[in-house]
Amino acid sequence: MTEIIIPPIDWRVAAQLSIIFGWASVLLVIALFVPRSRTRIIGYLAIVGVIVAAVAGIPLWGVNAETFSGMLRLDAYSLTLNWLFLASTAITIALSLDYLPRQGIERSEYYVLVLFATGGMMLLAQGADLIILFLGLELLSIVLYVLTGFAYPRIASEEAGMKYLLIGAFAGGFVVFGIALLYGATGSMNLRAIGETLARQALTPEERTYLLAGAALVVVGFGYKVAMAPFHMWAPDVYEGAPTPVTGLLSVGSKAAGFASLLRFLVEALAGEWQIWAPVLAALAIATLAVGNIGALTQQNVKRMLAYSSIGHAGYILFGVIAAGATDGVAGQRGVESVLLYLIAYTFTNLGAFGVLIALEQRGEAAWDMGDLAGLWNRRPWLAIAMAVCMLSLAGIPPTGGFWGKLYVFTAAWLAGMGWITVIGVIIAAVAAFYYLRIVAQMFMAEPAREAPLPMDRALRVGLTLATLGVLILGFIPTPAIDLVQRVVLGVRG
């Protein structure tokens, strides 16, 4: 009988993941001993875990290693994304600390589930193997289904959870079948190994069919997760029905993680087939931009409008993804940088926008109508300023983070030779500014529709301030962030 040899494990690679998963499991036990009235403590402890994991990442900068037989990788790319996920988790928890008791749905599992979702995102960023990508995707998704339905017995939340689950499971089926076909075509699940097999050009016609069909199915599956058209139809309903902090996490975390793994998959495994997938994704990007922005134009419900707007933003990020695969090295590098920069800016901006909605939401009463924002400047000047900053950033108007994100994405697309597509993107971005500015006009020029007291909790204020400051700092001093993303090298060039 042959002996089973367990390869040595490089724990540096799994350090942040282990902290998050371990801490989440510990918290689950601690929660048993915390009285229901003190559930908040679990939230604070969760934030502590997130901070520890983020700090643990600092000495890991510059590490370029893989472990678990090349399944898990730590490089500048995944580390940057891990920090982004941890930041968005911390802000989400801060926003939830006040929201949950106000809605009467405070349960300690919530914070634990958010931590598990973060772990899923980090797996997606670090996964270098199709198995890990699948597991990360499902871990993130299953946790998010539960979180979306967390406000039961409120029917909107249950329904959103159900819809998300059905669509997510459907998409998961596509991903698995795609993985099976890719495995059949190349005989490997490792992204780099697949890339090397393709580079040798040794596929039989039959294997090539499997490869293309498999790649298409995986892209469709991820397309559902990041809500790119025509696989976006679940997003508005789910975003509206989910508890608002979960919507925030959903719109930034799951999208960023989905794009992180999609980008790695396309660049590391399928870079050789760029000529085939670039035009397809370009068409999808334009469709996504059109659907998202046209949908947002007509919305009176701010939460739904943000859902459509986040579909639209998936389109801009796709520009960067396409550029990242470009055979031209400069354009490719710029593509990776632009995706990361866009994700960073988008994360802070969207969390800020949802934070304002959370602040406006009273118990049992939805305050998502455009009219509820009217005259916010007179009632709550700081809230109005935060919302205005976020709207300007989403619209891509300087001096906000969103501007640099858009600038980078468009530059990358232009360099990658997608001239006319870039032009269409810029035009749509200009049109999209209309509905963001409409909200700003509502807040600053319209008369207040109602006099509602808006109690604000300290944690909510901190979370909102962090998000808004993030957007502003990124806007005024973009150099550190740009420096950070410029050190990230991905794929065959790495």
Binding site: P153, I155, A169, Y183, G187
Partner: protein, 100 residues
Amino acid sequence: MVPTSYYILLSALLFTLGVVGVITRRNALVLFMSVELMLNSANLALVTFAMARQDIAGQIVVFFVIVVAAAEVAVGLALLVAIFRTKHTTDVDEINALRG
């Protein structure tokens, strides 16, 4: 021995059946079953390729897929029960509070 491509054809057929089921059927339970069909067709393809290549990886993945499918259905049924308590239906067309 049956050629690999026959198995793949069968699994593609099953996958398509699953997709058609998800798109056309309206009962949430049947939708879950259709999704299971999609996942299991992928499992068939995985073991077929693993067999053809004499490689263990494909067979291992099947276990992961089975576990994930079970977890997904557990959450799905819990949500379904919660919805059934409030709305007394499993028809996804009647679960329509959100729209517009």
